[in-house]
Symmetry: C2
Subunit: 122 residues, 2 copies
């Protein structure tokens, strides 16, 4: 247990507040809980349709308020699905596709193809 | 929309009460909701470890009461995961593995291998 102190920290509170979990550390329960929410699946599908770091949080068309939106992104980070970084005023996102696929083969594909395959109409 | 009537139905009320949904008719939302519950994943894993129709409902070691148990089986039927039939006093079960795999490739494998693969410890 070592505590590291820095006298001239340059990272903002927003950056310091961003915790990421590697998909290899995520339980199936956490992964399923994260993806069982339709708004979070929308975020994942949107990210899959764009280049890494191309989408800022504010650019997603979601039927929820700002606090709920932040919560959804935090859940996605905790499930190893999304990586975030701040660039000026924007919080950019990346879908951790390869890593998540390695941990949960096939799961992300089901989510990304939802609305395209016949099964996702119900 | 055709209604079929039978004048000499032999099925019991319990059998008549059993509705099944084909996995091809199940939405990803319904599938994820069904599998996001740890008790239901335990049932699925138990079924995967036995022959079709070998397990009666009462033989599952589950930390829930009888009514909750019945509810979990109903959710699994509605998600196209389990088929049931009554044989005397016993309600027997079959995991609809092939059909569900066709509808949601990879998903069942993640559930069945939970507790075996490194990712399911968290």
């Amino acid at each position: 247990m070592s505590v590291r102190r820095s006298s001239n920290t340059v990272s903002s509170a927003r950056v310091r507040g961003l915790t990421h979990v590697d998909p290899s550390e995520v339980s199936l329960q956490t992964a399923l809980d994260a993806l069982a929410d339709p708004v979070r699946r929308t975020i994942v599908r949107e990210l899959a349709a764009h280049r890494d770091w191309a989408k800022a949080c504010g650019t997603f068309d979601l039927p929820v308020g700002k606090a709920t939106r932040s919560h959804h992104f935090a859940v996605l980070r905790d499930a190893g699905l999304v990586e975030q970084r701040d660039e000026g005023p924007r919080r950019l996102n990346r879908l951790r596709r390869a890593e998540f696929d390695r941990a949960f083969p096939g799961l992300l594909k089901l989510v990304v193809s939802e609305g395209i395959t016949p099964n996702s109409t119900g």
